[in-house]
């Protein structure tokens, strides 16, 4: 009898532990859903086509040194379009900086902004961007037809535009690198291509 009671107590405790683990897992899935919700950087259907040669443009950075965009080079180029008046842009700067640091050997990050120079200086001081390539001027944004901020574009070594989109979170930024890897224009295009693959083949057979 004593053994049965001990076994019963033990079973209750273990059952409670399993139920707790299940609840924890469900909660974590909920959090993941919350983070995933808008999958990938949103791309507006205008401007330069992805997977084609990026338009070539040269602009001078804030110190007057020329910066080339869209030319073949040694490293990939990440263009981050921002403005000192855009709060989301500022919230993304730590993520951009960490990407720049992680991939320093194969990625050049260029910050592109426009507008009041004093506000730019303040932003640069606040976020310690003194060493970063920071372009102030409208040329690049006009060439790439950037209408909304914060916007990011990824150009590979050969000067081909690999991915671009409106970015609102670290996940969106990562999605740019992901789509470069998947050879799709946007993550949405990749996701849409998956479940509809069957439909397409079906459509062609008729």
């Amino acid at each position: 009898m004593e053994g049965l009671i001990v076994s019963n107590v033990l079973l209750w405790i273990l059952l409670a532990a399993v139920a707790f683990a299940v609840m924890g897992l469900v909660r974590q899935i909920g959090v993941l859903h919350g983070r995933l919700a808008p999958a990938g950087a949103l791309m507006m259907d205008k401007g330069v086509a992805v997977n084609e040669a990026a338009p070539q443009v040269t602009a001078s950075d804030r110190n007057g040194r020329p910066v080339n965009f869209g030319y073949a080079g040694e490293k990939n180029q990440l263009l981050f379009f921002l403005s000192p008046t855009c709060p989301i842009c500022k919230s993304l700067l730590p993520a951009i900086k960490s990407i720049a640091k992680e991939q320093a050997d194969r990625l050049d990050v260029v910050f592109i902004s426009d507008g009041d120079m004093d506000a730019q200086q303040k932003l640069i001081r606040e976020h310690k961007l003194e060493d970063a390539t920071y372009v102030v001027g409208p040329e690049v944004g006009m060439t790439y037809q950037i209408g909304k901020l914060p916007y990011a574009a990824l150009i590979d070594k050969t000067g081909t535009l690999r991915a671009k989109g409106l970015v609102n979170s670290r996940e969106h930024l990562d999605s740019l690198f992901e789509v470069e890897h998947l050879k799709k224009a946007t993550l949405q295009e990749y996701l849409n291509s998956q479940p509809h693959a069957h439909d397409h083949s079906h459509g062609h057979s008729h």
């Binding site: 209750w12 409670a16 139920a19 299940v22 469900v26 909920g30 859903h33 919700a37 996701l191 479940p195």
Partner: protein
């Protein structure tokens, strides 16, 4: 019909904790609960605010009354009635086709649209409440009975939280796979 007191006390305890947690969510964010209540469009605008104040109080009173053996029977019936009332409110809005309003069933981070499965959830809760209202078989309760009761309701609550989380996640999952 007589059941062993363990079943009845465990059901009452589980229900009491559920109601108390539901009430605290509502007390902590009265404005949000008032909005959810207004979204159900069942009450005239003037009554929404007072009712939004009263409901959490009623839930708390029922929760405490469930824990006291003397009042357990009536409290359990009241709880069954309250949960059935919620189910009716959900049912009416499902029938109206207003599926996109927030259910307001669980805490703040678990907004979920109305779906028929919520009626199933509430009917399970009504069953638990009715079980708690049954008069128990008279027998002496020892320490071990107390342990089993607490353990059973703890497991029931954890499983309820998990099931609730799954319910809240399923619309998000459907959205994610694009249906």
């Amino acid at each position: 019909m007589h059941f062993d007191p363990i079943f009845i006390i465990a059901s009452a305890l589980t229900l009491a904790v559920l109601l108390a947690s539901a009430a605290t969510h509502k007390v902590r964010a009265p404005a949000r609960f008032a909005k959810q209540l207004a979204d159900y469009q069942l009450l005239p605008q003037a009554l929404v605010r007072p009712v939004a104040r009263v409901i959490p109080a009623v839930e708390l009173v029922i929760a405490f009354a469930l824990l006291v053996p003397v009042s357990r029977y009536w409290a359990a019936l009241a709880a069954a009635g309250l949960i059935a009332l919620y189910a009716t409110a959900i049912g009416i809005n499902l029938w109206r086709g207003r599926r996109d309003i927030d259910c307001g069933c669980a805490g703040p981070d678990q907004a979920q649209p109305l779906r028929p499965i919520l009626l199933l959830r509430n009917s399970v809760l009504v069953t638990v409440a009715l079980l708690a209202s049954v008069s128990p078989l008279a027998r002496d309760l020892g320490f071990f009975d107390g342990f089993v009761t607490v353990a059973a309701s703890a497991v029931a609550l954890l499983l309820y939280a998990a099931a609730d989380g799954l319910l809240a996640n399923s619309p998000l999952l459907l959205k994610l796979i694009g249906r």
